[in-house]
Assembly symmetry: C2
Homo-oligomer: 245 residues x 2
DNA sequence: ATCACGGATAGTGTATACATCATACGCATC
DNA sequence: GATGCGTATGATGTATACACTATCCGTGAT
């Protein structure tokens, strides 16, 4: 069976490459949440000893992507549905901070670049809306957000944002498949862009916060739909009559 | 030279204990920012092999407390003054989120406990103000904040807050030595407490944000003073011009 | 004197071997 | 048949040994 792992580049320490490989695999969803990972298996798949693997695992443990039970095993972190809200509250706070800093610090060139990304996304959303299945690329949304993250000019904040993103990647792939989501997302981005362009940090903060909260709600609806598909009743929660918030 | 390190409890993996020992030493300021750390030295001081040390270091690297230059060495992270603002913006965002969640989720018992902590701090601040040197304990302020962090009932947020706290510990020890700071801090806490008690999440968020921003300003003034002392003083906090913030 | 170059050194990077521990299974017992 | 205990198993935890590489420093040429 083709291993889910592979060492990408050469010219780095095995530990670093192992870290990247494992992290990439986790972000790609190659490992399922809750799945157990064996040091030896990973080591063999990558053709290295267990030592670099262990060090990489410790880093991923600290990233919150893996959970380690001493003397027993390593497990892929799962985010229970009731913690989704928490994660998005955190994400909202960090992204809002990034937006505020971006409004203060982005260069005119960066703002220019941001407007281009926004324009592309708008065009893409328009096309997507016409299609039956909305094959929306998370990539478009990502580019916009990432441009803001970088525009904040804060290495520390960037690191934290990458960590949070790593934790929610799995969910974000769902979110943007919500019908009509692409247009809503693009509209939110336009608002944020305007605030940044106007160098209005407080407003950028506020709008980003709303934008993320919006995404959170879309996601939670999505999760509800998955948990209780149209027909079968799931285990918990006395049936709530479908009312759209 | 009595080693700056010691393995605390038994009954855990050496890696875990090494992590705790190193982290504790870093938080206590036993290692100076920018100082180099040698795996072998740490291992010898703790009486373990280099392997657990390396794994602990990888975790601390991911925590942002250590920086690793491949094939060369490990260094204690330094926070350049110009990044202090960024760190406090991040801290403010996270703490505000914690306060908002606390307002929503704290039990009545936890709120009761919070009011006790606040009362103690007020009393302590009053005493401190009367003393010539204000030996203010960061501990008092910490208890209040920590109670809110726990009251947010979000394990994930708690972890992030601990990480941020670890990064700013060194600075926070300075901040609260600022003259008249204890009283200001206590007043801010009282405001926050009221918002939480009233279950007003938005207000708790706002007030916490202001509170942290306040601390940031105090710290930056403090740093300015240190950088450019009135009459060329020594390294540690000697002369303090008594002016209330 | 300054700069370029190459070996010496010390510390990090990796592999291997062994120790330790949590779990699971089988057996005896109630 | 259900329950509790002891051993077997396999993975993790740790130590040791060796390989590699970035830096430092002495040497020589310009």
């Amino acid at each position: 069976m083709g291993s889910r792992l592979s060492l990408l580049t050469d010219q780095q320490s095995l530990q670093e490459r192992t870290y990247q490989a494992l992290r990439g695999a986790l972000l790609d969803g190659a490992y399922l949440p809750g799945e157990r990972i064996y040091e030896g298996t990973v080591a063999k798949a990558l053709g290295v000893s267990r030592n670099p693997v262990r060090e990489a695992v410790r880093r991923l443990q600290q990233d919150g992507l893996l959970q380690v039970r001493p003397h027993y095993g390593i497990y892929v972190t799962t985010i229970p549905p009731e913690e989704v809200e928490d994660v998005y509250r955190i994400r909202g706070a960090l992204e809002a901070t990034a937006a505020a800093l971006a409004a203060e610090r982005m260069t005119t060139e960066e703002i220019q670049e941001l407007s281009l990304i926004l324009a592309e996304q708008k065009a893409a959303a328009k096309v997507a809306a016409a299609l039956p299945r909305e094959p929306v690329s998370v990539v478009q949304a990502d580019r916009f957000h990432h441009a803001i993250h970088v525009g904040a000019h804060s290495p520390r904040l960037l690191v934290l944002l990458e960590q949070i993103y790593a934790q929610v990647t799995h969910f974000r792939n769902l979110t943007l498949r919500y019908p009509g989501r692409a247009a809503v997302s693009a509209a939110g981005h336009a608002d944020i862009y305007e605030a940044i362009r106007a160098r209005n940090a407080d407003e950028a903060d506020r709008r980003m916060r709303l934008h993320i909260d919006d995404a959170r709600q879309a996601l939670q609806h999505q999760l509800d739909d998955v948990a209780r598909p149209p027909g079968a009743a799931s285990h918990d929660a006395g049936s709530q009559t479908g009312e759209g918030a």
